[in-house]
Structures are given as structure tokens and as C-alpha cells.
Amino acid sequence: MEKKEMSKVKIRRFDPDRDSAPYFQEYEIPYEKESTVLDALYRIYQTIDGTLSFRGSCFAGGWCNVCALRVNGKSLLPCKVFMEKEMTIEPLPGYPVLKDLIVDYAAKRKGGCGDASKSREGTHPNLGHLREPTKRE
């Protein structure tokens, strides 16, 4: 049988309940050229680590825009970009990290950490600039 190509995924983890500082955790999953980065995260959650936290709703490529994060140093929507054989995944910069890849979208707009549920201003930034599809390598 042919050996499956694997992808190395380094994810920045942080749970304020147990970690004093963020750290990177490495996972290995099968590389599939037609899987998106969000699919890859979901696969890690599903098959390796149920404690991994990330957002995602439409899973369809830039319709809901809640999954935004940073892959290999670039801010993007992971549901619009195909996975790579080596990826470093971090939370979207510029926002306080609540857990793992989840940031407080509400905090930036209000200039501090607050109760997202009480916000009337909206808790989500305009991420339209992240919508363009990225070329498949």
C-alpha cells in the first residue's frame, strides 16, 4: 500500500484556566490537497484532540467569516485556503486570545475586554479583505 503523505500542523494553544503562557502543539494528519485549512483543524479535533478550540460556522469558504486566523504568518480565512504540508496556525493577531484560536472580536472595537454578549456594537470585525480565494500550489 502506498504511504499516505502527511502534513505537520503546529497550533498555538492557550487555555487561561491551566496555562501560564501560550505554547505550540504539533499534530500530524494526512495531507489532502483538496482539504482546506479549516477542514484540517476539524480533522485534528475529530481524530486527535477534542480539546482544540476554534470557530467555524459555514465551512463553505468566506460566507460567515468567523473562522479568521493566521496561517504561516498570513491572516486569512482558513475555509478558503487549501491546507499545506507544513502549517503554523495562530490566532488572528490584534485581538485578545480567549482560548486556543478563539479571539475576543468584541474587545478590539471597544478598546478593551468586555462581555461580548452585552455588546450592541457588534462583536465581529469586517473581514471582507480576507475573502479573496488563494491560489492552490
Binding site: D17, Y45, T51, A60, G61, W63, C64, K99, G122, K135
Partner: protein, 584 residues
């Protein structure tokens, strides 16, 4: 246990998609304390932002012969005559008004050179009546409604809260118990009226087009509370969804754009145009039920494409015509950048679960069978009958949402100052807490995501596009076995913050419940009609089955009854399929 503060509201809307947002906005015109609770991020979650193209309302801009009456007839005829005709009448008459209201909130639609709303043609409609905003109509509508709701001071928005229990006490006030995803703490809402606008549950199928939060929570909670449900057997399968190649960014139903306005060819692995042969005008005539069943038959009978679909081909049109004539035009260059050249190769397309025609049985005020409990949007039944027409969802959610919000507020206003018993709340909170503790304590067992995958497989195989008695019975048995596994072995990770497994666990319970309701209803309907296709009863049977199947909880059992459709607006016509009639 720390005491949980109760959020006091007059109207609570559960679900922040288009129907929920509209309900909140309309309720806020009548009462001062409206809450909108959303499982994800308001304005982003649910299926409304995924609506790519069409929102149907009979303005008659493209063809002056169009009007709400024709829209009603199309909707009922293509709903195979089991729609609630009173609801369809309301929907088709009020849809243009609600679209104008949306525009007053700042919505932008494509317009012609005279400034009139452009209207596109959709299969099953007599005239072009789809309003649209490029191919991003849904996100535009949701963005508009979210902005409007956020600037309405009477509306308080609660995000990333999963409702796990409803406590409906007679005429109210009612309670809803939620869990914050951020830290797992409970939240209790008290309101005179509750509007459920949580959408459908197509996530119970392995292949689906919906956002992952579309897990039928509200339908399940309403059933648990004793509300009547209707038409649960009718699940729409979308015929032309993305199969191969993946088209990230274009949405799961994108291949459909190729079929609009063009000579796109749809053929199987043998090169046979299996729909076009029988139905030359299929692009505008073949509604989703017919097309899904035709495509699915090719796939299961071994004439499918390598990735489990069929071919959709526009190579013969050439670049210029593809760009000019297909609704895909704007995407042509984007696709080239992704390495997909439509002039060189066909794409593969397949069938996926898309929409629930069934849900809570409601009247024109959005009232369910329980006092003070309202439902709107995909969580409510009756508007679309046995098959929803393309473009009717985005406009229906506006109409049904506005009505449910308005009447819920009227209900709440009459009950100002009424007190209800809250004795059961601590008990319910405790039982939720104990359940979570049980899940967290188990060091090994069934993970909720594994349970979901198992369930999605069961439903795809046994309650999918093509159904039959034995398979459906096997499906019910498999669900019962899964339910037992869940009770004995479900486990989740102990983390408190943003625990995805905690969401998955509660969603799995809802998904098992609504799945068994779909199968129960589908087994009961011994005919084929619209999206419900049975090979053991392949034809519609108008003598026996112009009825709605109503389900209601009876302890641990499901009570079912039939209700005759009232033909108050349009009498049924004889339906013939392949020139034959009758199942015997």
C-alpha cells in the same frame, strides 16, 4: 452552586439568522425588552448568510403578469399541494412589502437601468421573481438585519449561548436555559413569549449544504416541550452541489449557477443527458425534488462520476458565453486562479441535504400549539409543503419572522406583570449540571463527534433521497442503539472554556431526536410526494395522502396523527408522473 441570575425579558427570540433577527426587530416595535440569543456570532451564524443568490417576491418587474397570486399557485403546485395555504397566501402577499422594508434598513439589491429591482428566473416559478445582490444576497441580507437589530435599543443580543432546555409553564412566563460557550456557565431567560427561529437540521445528513450549527436544536426543544410538529418527512436535497473539484469560496450550491440561463449539459458517466432527454426545458422546469432524485438514481445505479456525482458541462459554450450567460460569469477568473478551467473540463456535481420543509406546526401568527411559543423560518412548517422552490426561503424568513415577532410581542404585552412559578428552574439547572459532570467524568467512551458522524451516516443511508420501509426501520433501530450508546458512554473533555465537545454533545441529542422524527414520519407516509421519495410507493396518492403528518410527544413515545389539507386558495390537480398513477 452559585445562583444563576435570571434575564428578564418580554420576548425571547432563539436563533439569530434572518427569521430571528426579523422577529426581534418587529417585536421591539411593541415591547421594550426583547432578547435575541444566538449559538454563534450574531450576523454571521446560521444559514441565512449562506444564501447565495435568490430571494423571491412577486414584484412583477421582469414580467408584468407576475403577482402574489401566481407566486402562491407556483408555491403550492410545486409544494405538491400539502402546503398550509393560509401561510402561503400570507407569504406571497407580504413578501414584496418585507423586501421593501429590508431596503429601508439599507439592503442593496441589483437594479436595472430604470432603477427597478432586477428579477431572475428560478426553476418551478412561472415568471422571473428572484431579487438578488450579485451572488452574495444572503450575507448582504444578514448584515443588514444584524445592523438594524444592533441599533434597536430594545433588543439585547446574547451571543455564543446554546439553549439546552425550555420550560414552558401553561400560559407563561416561559423559561429558556442556555450555556455560555465561553465558560460553560448557565444563563436563564424568562420571557412572556418565546420565538424559536433556530433553522432546520440538515446536519443530520452526511452530505449537506448547511452551516455546521444547523442541528435542529429548536425543533427538538419544541417537540420535547410538547409542541406539535408537521411534515418532518420532507427534507429537501439540493441537486447540484459541489463535488469535485472543491470550490472554496463559492458556496456549496455554486454549480447551480452554471445551469441558470445557459445550455449547460448535465450527463452521467456514459455521457447520457439523463434529464435533458426526458425534459428538454429542465433548467427551468426541474424543481429540486425531481432533479435530485434523477441525479441520485444515476449515482446509485453506477452511472456516476469518479467522485460520486454526475457531470455538469459548459465547455461547448466557450469563455465569452460562460462569462456573459451563466450566473457563474463573475467567478470564471477566480476559478481559473484555483486551477479550474470551465472551458476545458466539466465539473462533477452531486446531491446534498439542504432544507427542512417540516418543523413546528404554526398558524399565520407564528403561534405553535403551545401558548406563548412561536416559531418562524425553517423551524416552522407549512410554507413550502413537500418541496421548497428556489428563492422562497430568504423571503419567507422575513415574512414569518416579522409576524412571529409582532404577535409574540402582542402576546407579551397582554401579560405584563404576570408572575410564573420558577420552582423547577433550580432542578433543571442541577440536572443539566449533573449530565455535563457525567460526560466529563468518563475517561473513555463515545465522543460526541463520533456519535454525530455515525448518525449522519445512518440518516444518509436510510432517510435520504431514496427511501424504503426496510431501510427506514433499520435506521430507527440504529438510532435507538446510538441513543443507548450516548446514554451509557458519551464523554467529553473537561475544559470549561469554548469546549466544542460540550456543544457537540447537546447537538447530538437534538440530532438523534429529530432524526427519529424524520424516520417516523417518512415511514408513515406510504406514497411519494415532492422530496419524499419511496421506491416501495413510487407515486403520489392524492386520495389518501393530501394530508399533513403531525407529531407530538407523548411521554417517551411519539404520537402521530393526520390532518387533511385545507384547499382554501387552490384546489389540487391530478398529478401524473411518467404517465402512470397509483402505487399498487
Amino acid at each position: 452552586m452559585e445562583e444563576t441570575k435570571i434575564q428578564e425579558l418580554e420576548v425571547l427570540v432563539i436563533g439569530g439568522g434572518g427569521a430571528g433577527a426579523m422577529a426581534a426587530i418587529h417585536a421591539a416595535r411593541e415591547v421594550s425588552a426583547v432578547g435575541l440569543v444566538e449559538k454563534g456570532i450574531f450576523g454571521k451564524a446560521g444559514c441565512t448568510p449562506m444564501g447565495a443568490y435568490s430571494m423571491c417576491a412577486a414584484f412583477g418587474n421582469a414580467d408584468p403578469r407576475d403577482n402574489p397570486r401566481v407566486h402562491l399557485e407556483d408555491t403550492i403546485r410545486q409544494g405538491r399541494f400539502i402546503n398550509n395555504q393560509e401561510l402561503v397566501d400570507i407569504f406571497t402577499r407580504e413578501a414584496p412589502e418585507r423586501v421593501m422594508e429590508l431596503i429601508s434598513f439599507g439592503a442593496k439589491f441589483d437594479r436595472d437601468e430604470k432603477g427597478k429591482l432586477k428579477q431572475g428566473m428560478m426553476a418551478g416559478h412561472s415568471y422571473p421573481r428572484a431579487c438578488f445582490f450579485d451572488r452574495r444576497t444572503g450575507p448582504m441580507i444578514m448584515g443588514t438585519l444584524a445592523r438594524q437589530a444592533k441599533k434597536t435599543p430594545q433588543i439585547q443580543i446574547f451571543e455564543e449561548i446554546l439553549i439546552v432546555d425550555l420550560l414552558l409553564e401553561g400560559a407563561g412566563p416561559h423559561y429558556a436555559i442556555g450555556l455560555r460557550w465561553a465558560d460553560s456557565t448557565p444563563v436563564v431567560f424568562r420571557a412572556s413569549a418565546i420565538v424559536v427561529a433556530t433553522g432546520g437540521g440538515a446536519q443530520v445528513y452526511a452530505h449537506n449544504t448547511t452551516s455546521i450549527d444547523n442541528t435542529g436544536d429548536g425543533i427538538s426543544l419544541m417537540f420535547q416541550s410538547g409542541a406539535e410538529l408537521a411534515d418532518m418527512e420532507f427534507v429537501q436535497f439540493y441537486p447540484t452541489t459541489v463535488c469535485a473539484p472543491r470550490l472554496p469560496g463559492l458556496g456549496p450550491t455554486a454549480p447551480a449557477y452554471l445551469t441558470i440561463h445557459t445550455g449547460a449539459k448535465l450527463y452521467n458517466a456514459l455521457g447520457e443527458e439523463f434529464v435533458g432527454k426526458k425534459m428538454p426545458g429542465w433548467r427551468f422546469q426541474a424543481t429540486r425534488d425531481i432533479l435530485s432524485q434523477a441525479i441520485y438514481r444515476e449515482i446509485i445505479e453506477g452511472r456516476g462520476s469518479p467522485h460520486g456525482g454526475v457531470y455538469l458541462d459548459v465547455t461547448h459554450l466557450g469563455e465569452e458565453r460562460i462569462k456573459r450567460e451563466t450566473a457563474f460569469g463573475g467567478y470564471f477568473d477566480k476559478l481559473l486562479r484555483l486551477g479550474v478551467d470551465l472551458t476545458q473540463r466539466p465539473i462533477e456535481t452531486t446531491v446534498s441535504a439542504h432544507f427542512f420543509m417540516g418543523g413546528a406546526r404554526v398558524n399565520g401568527r407564528g403561534e405553535t400549539s403551545l401558548p406563548g411559543l412561536f416559531a418562524a423560518g425553517e423551524a416552522a412548517a407549512g410554507y413550502h409543503g413537500a418541496n421548497r422552490l428556489g428563492g422562497n426561503a430568504l423571503s419567507e424568513i422575513l415574512v414569518s419572522g416579522a409576524r412571529a415577532g409582532q404577535y409574540a410581542a402582542a402576546w407579551a404585552r397582554e401579560r405584563r406583570g404576570m408572575k410564573g412559578p420558577e420552582t423547577e428552574i433550580p432542578l433543571r439547572l442541577q440536572s443539566i449540571e449533573e449530565k455535563i459532570a457525567r460526560w466529563k467524568k468518563r475517561g473513555s467512551g463515545l465522543r460526541p463527534i463520533e456519535g454525530k458522524r455515525c448518525l449522519q451516516g445512518i440518516m444518509w443511508e436510510t432517510a435520504g433521497v431514496v427511501r424504503e420501509k426496510k431501510k427506514m426501520q433499520k435506521g430507527l433501530e440504529a438510532l435507538a442503539a446510538l441513543q443507548e450508546e450516548v446514554e451509557k458512554r458519551l464523554m467529553i473533555s473537561p475544559s470549561r472554556r469554548f469546549n466544542r465537545e460540550l456543544l457537540d454533545a447537546f447537538e447530538l441529542e437534538h440530532m438523534i431526536r429529530i432524526s427519529s422524527l424524520i424516520l417516523t414520519s417518512a415511514l408513515a407516509r406510504k406514497e411519494s410526494r415532492g422530496a419524499h421519495y419511496r421506491i416501495d410507493y413510487p407515486y403520489p396518492d392524492d386520495e389518501k395522502w393530501l394530508v399533513n403528518i403531525i407529531l407530538q410527544r407523548d411521554g417517551d413515545r411519539i404520537r402521530k396523527r393526520q390532518e387533511k389539507v385545507s384547499f382554501s386558495h387552490l384546489k389540487p390537480e391530478v398529478q401524473k408522473i411518467d404517465g402512470k398513477e397509483g402505487n399498487e
